[in-house]
C-alpha cells in the first residue's frame, strides 16, 4: 500500500479538497453572521444556500460535468459571452486544474450546509451577552471575534471535523465527473479503494485502505484541533 504511487497521488488530491474547504470556513462563518443579522429576505437566502446540499450528489455531479464540458459547455460559453475567451480551459481534463474544479463543485454543494449550521449556532448565542457587549460599545468585529465565535466553538469544532471527514472520503463528485481521470489525476483515496476492491477484486488491500483512511482522519483531526486551540484561539 505504501509503495503505490497512484494511491499517494489520490491521497494528495484529497488534500486539495481539504485545503479549499478549510479556507472557505471563515467565509462561510461570515456569511452565517450576515444571514443572522437583520438582512432583508434572509430566510430566502438561507433556503437558497442550503438547497445544493439537499439535491442528490450524483445529479449535481452529472449536471456540472455538462456545465464544464469542452463542447457546448455552459461555463466556456459564459466566458465567451463576457469576452473572456483567454480564460477558457479544458476544465475536466487538464491535470493541473481538474482537482480545483471538482473541489469547487464540492464547495458549491456543501458550503450551504456549513452556513446553515453556523447560523443555527449563532442564533443560540445568549442575547443578554450580546446586549451587554453592545451597551459596552463593542463594534461588529469585536462582537464577532470576542462574543459570537467563542460562543459557537462547539459547532466550529464539528464543522472542522466534518471537513476532514468529507474531504478524505469524497467519492461521488470525482467518480461521476471524471472517473478519477485523466489517469489517476483526479482520483481520491475512496475512489481508489473502491477500484481496488471491485475492479481488481483485492478486498484485503481495500480493507487495509479503509482502516488507514480512518486513522488518517483521526490523526488530522487531533493535529488540527491542537493547532487551532493552541495557536489561533489561544486567547479564548
Amino acid at each position: 500500500m505504501f509503495q503505490n504511487k497512484d494511491l499517494w497521488r489520490s491521497l494528495g488530491n484529497n488534500a486539495i479538497y481539504f485545503c479549499v474547504h478549510l479556507l472557505m470556513i471563515p467565509v462561510e462563518l461570515a456569511f452565517a453572521v450576515l444571514l443572522n443579522s437583520k438582512l432583508r429576505a434572509a430566510k430566502f437566502y438561507k433556503t437558497m444556500v442550503f438547497m445544493p446540499y439537499i439535491i442528490n450528489g450524483v445529479a449535481i455531479s452529472y449536471a456540472f460535468s455538462y456545465f464544464f464540458s469542452p463542447i457546448n459547455g455552459a461555463f466556456n460559453n459564459l466566458l465567451e459571452l463576457l469576452k473572456l475567451e483567454m480564460l477558457k480551459q479544458n476544465w475536466l481534463s487538464d491535470e493541473n486544474i481538474v482537482n480545483f474544479v471538482l473541489a469547487f463543485v464540492s464547495l458549491w454543494r456543501f458550503s450551504g450546509y456549513h452556513i446553515v449550521l453556523f447560523t443555527a449556532a449563532l442564533q443560540s448565542v445568549n442575547h443578554d451577552i450580546i446586549e451587554a457587549a453592545t451597551l459596552d460599545g463593542a463594534n461588529a468585529w469585536q462582537m464577532f471575534r470576542y462574543i459570537q465565535t467563542p460562543s459557537i466553538m462547539l459547532m466550529v469544532d464539528f464543522i472542522l471535523f466534518d471537513n476532514i471527514r468529507g474531504a478524505m472520503q469524497v467519492f461521488d463528485i470525482p467518480f461521476v465527473m471524471t472517473n478519477g481521470g485523466p489517469g489517476y489525476a483526479s482520483s481520491t483515496f475512496t475512489l481508489y479503494t473502491i477500484k481496488t476492491a471491485f475492479t481488481f477484486s483485492n478486498f484485503g488491500l481495500a480493507s487495509a485502505m479503509a482502516v488507514a483512511i480512518m486513522a488518517i482522519i483521526i490523526l488530522i483531526y487531533v493535529v488540527q484541533n491542537k493547532i487551532i486551540h493552541k495557536f489561533i484561539l489561544k486567547g479564548d
Binding site: D6, S65, Y66, F68, S69, P70, I71, N72, G73, N90, W91, L92, S93, E95, T178, N179, G181, P182, G183, A185, T196, T199, F200, S201, N202
Partner: protein, 437 residues
Amino acid sequence: MKKKILCSLLAAAMLCGLTGCNGGSGSGESGNGDGLSCKLVFAIWDNNLMEYIEANDMEGKFKEKYPNAEIEVEKIKDDSEYWNSMKMRASANQLPDVMFNKPFTLSRFQEYLLDLSDTEACKNNTLAEGYAINGKVLGIPQTAGYEYVYYWKDMFTEAGVEVPDTWEELKAVSKKLQEHFGANDPDFMAIALGAKDEWPDYPYMEFMPALVNGNGQNWNNMAKTDTPFAGGSDINTAYHRVYDLFTSGVLGKDPLGLGNDQATNLFAQKKAAIIALGDWGLQNIQNAADSTDQLGTFYLPVRETESEPFRYVVQGDSFMGVTTHSKNPELAKAFVEWYYSDAWYPGYLSYISSASSMSNFPKDKDPILAEADKLQPDGVPVMYDGGGDDFTAVQNETAFDYKKLGAQMLTDNFDLDAALAELDTKWTAARAKLDIK
C-alpha cells in the same frame, strides 16, 4: 414367509432406486421422447431468459417431447453470485445438469463439462468450435455479439473519403475528415470518443490485441509469459497503433472532457463523423439522431496491409454446457438439442435483441449493421475470449486496466514505451508471486 416377502420387496425397491434415474433407452418409457426420464436441473442468471421461460412454459414444451422428463430451472440472482455458487458446487460435486458459461469461465469449469461436439446443436452453431478447449466443445453459445464502427456516409462523401480497409487508411481518412470539417468547426471530432468515462475505448484497447494476429486467446496467452508487453508482441503492436491514432488530433480538442453520452449525442448531431461501439450502440444513436438515413457501419480495420486477412471480433455469449456431475447426461444432452431446436430457440431469439449463433436459425441483422458484412464479405471472424482465471489473477495483481491506459494515452507527457515496460516488470513479479506457469 412374511419376512422373506418384505426382504424381496425392499431389495426390489433398492434396485429400482439405483437404476430409477438412468438415462438409458431401456427404461421402457412410453412417448416419442426416446424414453428418457427423470429430473434435470438447469441453472441460469439471466432475467430475460427467466421471464421468457415462465411466459412460455418451458417445462410443458419439453414434456411434449420427453413426457417423463422434468426440468427444474434454478434462477440465481446475478452472474457474480452465479459464479460464486458454481465454484462452491463444483468442489461439492453438486453442479446442475445443465449450466451456462461465459467465454472466460469455460477454462475454469473445463474439468466439469462434457464434450458436446457430437451434438446437432454444436454442428449448427457458428461459434461453438471457435471456443473449443483441447478440441472439446464445452458449451454451445446462445447468442453472438459484434463490434462496429458507425459513420455518416454524407460526411464521408463531402470530405471525399471512402470506408477504410486498413489501419493506415483509417488514420488517413480520420485526418482528412478532421481537416475538412475541423476547419470551420473547432469542436469537430473525426472520431468521437468519450474518453472521460474510460470504458468507451474498449473497441481499441480490449479487442485490437486479439485482432492483430487473429488470436482470440490473446489474454490467456499473455498469462503464460513474463513479458507480454515487450516489443513485437500483439498487444505492444496494437497499443502503438492506438497511440498513433489517438495522438494524431482526430479525436477533437478534448476527448478526455467528454463522456460516452456526450460523445454519442455529438456523433448523432453530426459533430463527429465516426464512432466505434458495439451493436448495442445503434439504439442510442437512433434515439439521439434526427435521421439515420445516412448512417452506415464498417468493421474496425486493424490490419496493416490489404494482404493480411480482414479480421473482426465476434463474441459468443451464454455457453450452454452439460456438467460431469449430471446423473442423466443423455437427457441433459437431449435438453441441449431441444433448446437449440425449432421447438424453443427461434422463439427466444426473436424475444431478445442479440444476433443468432445458429446457422439453421439465422436472424436478419438490422440493415445498418448488415452494411459492415457487405463491405467485408471475406472478413475473418475472431472468437474473442475475455481472459480466463490466470489472466484475471495476474491482471488484478498488477492492476492492469487497459481502458484507463487508453485514456492515459491522451494525457500530456505520456510515455507508452515506459508504461508498457513498467507493466512487464509488474507482470513478471505477479506471475512469480501467484506461481502461474
